[in-house]
């Protein structure tokens, strides 16, 4: 592979809410006192209006910060919690990112390795296109389970292609073995997991350890030469065992993010890679290993370009954008695990008219408004007649993307009457920089964030759920810019 090919950019998204594991344990200790040892730190929790698609959009936007989206030729979405079994989930992300229709898109699923396997395919670089590799997971776990404490919701995205890469692939090694540490059958909500000691000894130590050794041999490196080892198994003690077996220095082991985010499933390896590349200096050897019915190991070398790379908000930004949360009941409700009495207002039929969504897909999924080519008036949505009262222009509007533009609050309220899974529902009118306005829901917001004139930015979320037909209606909402 030539020197101008590799990872061009990385991005990450971690939901703002961080559920305190102690709060989870406190609620469940009467039933599962044995989980006390795991009740440390916090885990990222997606809001009710997030899923693998919306988190994937946010990670992708982060990775594409300042880059030309027209260069992206292919996207993959890796996840074991895809909202749709038969509707291209990556296709929704394509619309939200306003990528060209000629983009190829693929959902990748089936194991915790899905993210790295998709990344390695992209790094094979056979089609000469820029690949946007997204991994995003929002898994559900039974209340009072180990998984409930261990998991976290997050997404990561990497842009792979030709250009000025920040890291190049030195070599990779993959094995596939039907090692069933856990599984989730078609139609099931939760994983079924086997004993953790067996997984540790037979799975991680043997299979993963051997694969790391093989990858090192293949690239002609010793474990000691690895500067950053990303063993994407956020289980206490496991990376240390692998390091010992493979000669990797203990200091080279990267933080597994277990204490701050939790195990983000198929997104976790890419999340750790994003975090590592944000910190790395040129010339570092970075080893990434993921586990799931086999092992993927990839060894990268960072380039001088990494020092020039401005970097997006990334994992660092996501970790800082944090709101500790001890509301375990809300977490259960937002995961659909608690059937609260939502009242009659929640009964409104949310049926989506499919033909209308298709016609308006740029407006709804892409937040594309209109700009009058004669007067420059910007508006949302795009309409036949311009909204400019001083110039009745008909059919003069061109597409105008609003999602990446900042906006300011014009009006607001905190509505305790309308049905919201997270009351009170904040919303108000916002004016975009450069023109255009809309009334938008405000999310991830605190009372002190809302005031007339306050700066906001847009985020891609679930607007409503059609629970009769299991269809998710996506749209854009606003959140505090800083």
């Amino acid at each position: 592979m030539t020197g101008d090919f590799g990872i061009l950019s990385v991005g990450a998204y971690v939901p703002r809410s961080r559920l305190q594991r102690s709060a989870v344990h406190e609620a469940n200790a009467w039933f599962a006192p044995g989980l006390k040892a795991m009740a440390k730190g916090e885990r990222a929790v997606a809001s009710w209006d997030e899923d693998a698609i919306t988190m994937g959009v946010e990670a992708a936007r982060d990775a594409l910060t300042g880059l030309d989206r027209a260069e992206v030729g292919a996207i993959t979405l890796a996840s074991t919690s895809l909202p749709y079994i038969d509707r291209l989930n990556a296709g929704v992300i394509k619309e939200a990112l306003n990528l060209a229709d000629v983009v190829t898109a693929l959902d990748v699923t089936g194991s915790q390795r899905a993210g790295t396997s998709a990344l390695l395919r992209a790094l094979a670089g056979t089609d000469g296109q820029q690949h946007l590799c997204i991994a995003s997971d929002l898994r559900k776990a039974r209340p009072a389970s180990e998984a409930e404490l261990a998991q976290g919701d997050a997404a990561a995205a990497l842009l792979v292609g030709r250009g000025d890469p920040i890291a190049r692939l030195l070599g990779a090694h993959s094995i596939t073995v039907d090692f069933v540490d856990h599984f989730r059958a078609e139609g099931e909500t939760f994983d079924y997991a086997w004993e953790s000691r067996w997984i540790r000894d037979e799975g991680y130590a043997k299979l993963l350890g051997a694969a790391v050794k093989a990858a090192l041999e293949r690239t002609g490196l010793t474990g000691a030469e690895i500067d950053r080892a990303l063993i994407a198994v956020p289980v206490r003690g496991v990376p240390e065992v692998i390091a010992k077996k493979t000669g990797i220095r203990a200091e080279a082991l990267a933080d597994t993010l277990a204490a701050t985010i939790g195990d983000a499933g198929s997104a976790h390896p890419l999340l750790m890679l994003a975090a590592a590349l944000e910190e790395a200096k040129p010339g570092e050897k970075v080893l990434l290993a993921s586990f799931g019915q086999g092992v993927d190991v990839a060894i990268f070398e960072t380039t001088p370009a990494i020092e020039r790379w401005a970097g997006p908000s990334g994992v660092r930004g996501a970790l800082a954008r944090r709101k500790p949360d001890s509301n375990y009941m809300r977490f259960l409700f937002h995961r659909g695990l608690l059937d609260l009495d939502r009242g009659m207002r929640a009964e409104q039929d949310q049926k989506q008219v499919g033909s209308s969504l298709y016609r308006n897909r740029k407006t709804v999924l892409g937040l594309v408004g209109g700009r009058c080519t004669k007067t420059g008036t910007v508006q949302f949505p795009k309409t036949p007649f311009s909204v400019n009262p001083n110039s009745r222009e008909l059919g003069t509007q061109e597409d105008y993307e609003l999602a990446e533009r900042r906006a300011r609050i014009v009006t607001y309220t905190a509505d305790a009457l309308t049905y919201s899974p997270n009351p009170p529902c904040y919303y108000g009118m916002i004016d975009f920089e450069g023109g255009g306005r809309m009334t938008a829901e405000f999310v991830d917001i605190d009372p002190e964030d809302v005031e007339v004139g306050r700066e906001m930015r847009m985020v891609f979320r679930i607007k409503a759920l059609d629970e009769l037909r299991e269809f998710k209606r996506y749209f854009w909402k606003a959140t505090a810019a800083s």
Partner: protein, 401 residues
Amino acid sequence: MARGIKDRVAILGMGCTKFGERWDCDADQLMVEAYEEAMADAGIDPTQLDAAWLSVGFDAMNIGSSGVPLAMALRLPDIGVTKVENFCASGTEAFRGAVYAVASGAADIALALGVEKLKDTGYGGLPTRTRGTKLDMISVTGSAPGNFAQLAAAYRAEHGVSKDDLKRAMAHVSVKSHANGAKNPKAHLQKVIDMDTVLNAPMIAEPLGLFDCCGVSDGAACAIVTTPEIARALGKHDIVTIKAMQIVSSNGWEAEGAGWNGSYFHTTRVAAARAYQEAGISSPRDELSLLEVHDCFSVTEVVTMEDLHISRTGEGWKDVLDGFFDADGSLPCQIDGGLKCFGHPIGASGLRMIYENYLQLLGRAGERQRSTPPRLALSHNLGGLPSSNVSAVAIVGMLDA
């Protein structure tokens, strides 16, 4: 501008049901109740009705989507019935249809009836409803209080009014309406309240507390209109005529354009200016005797005092606190209790406002009758939300006013 219809149409009779939780009634029984009062007042036979308009705001909860239910409930004599729906301004819309039919000469006598059966929803407040296939994908499904509450933040920011001052002015609006409603036997709420009750009530939509919001009611109101000549021929002496009738619908400028700051109703400002021109009123603050405005929320009433060009922009809250709009003030507003206490059966509300103005003009308002004989009375009926709405202004007065 068109020359308008001032004094070309007279009110022959009006009726209004008791508003409230009418658990015992269907919509057709409410229609009959309002109709019977109006017909007795008009003193005519049903065969003299040439046309009818029916207003209902919430289709699904009521009577379906045609004028047929009115024709059936009242057994109208094979005449055309047009059903109109224009958010909460539907009542004035029905009135406009009947008034214009008479003004045009197409009908000698026409009827307008508004009805709403809202207490069959199973919960308080307005039902959630669609805003159309496209808007439903991109708009916020806020509650009515949430939609109107946004006026407050914008108003405070625009005019530098403190949270506390605006909240107190809003509370004064509700205290006043409750005081007025207590004197109205047909009112849904007839209980006097104090400032502390309003200020300490649970928050519905920041900064609107429970007492800043009107509820919803069951009820119906009816108007029968004709020409002043026919009214006189039918034996009427004190004749109340329509001085102005203006409706303005948002075209999206507020919601999608640039320049509207969220603190006022663009449509009301335009509709009021046109209505004053049609009625020949140059100084509404001095010339009008009574106001019935769309006080769906206390903050709406505050800003509407400015949008109707009664108070100076940014100073309506001061007039409110000064008691200018109290029942014994210079220009009473909601002397019948308003939406807040008389009640708000959506499709009937615009007609209920005109009903009160009509009674007051004729000196028939009982205990709540304005001491100074009123000459010109304005009603303002609003539907939608601040950023996208229908604003209707009707001015009625004595024929010689």
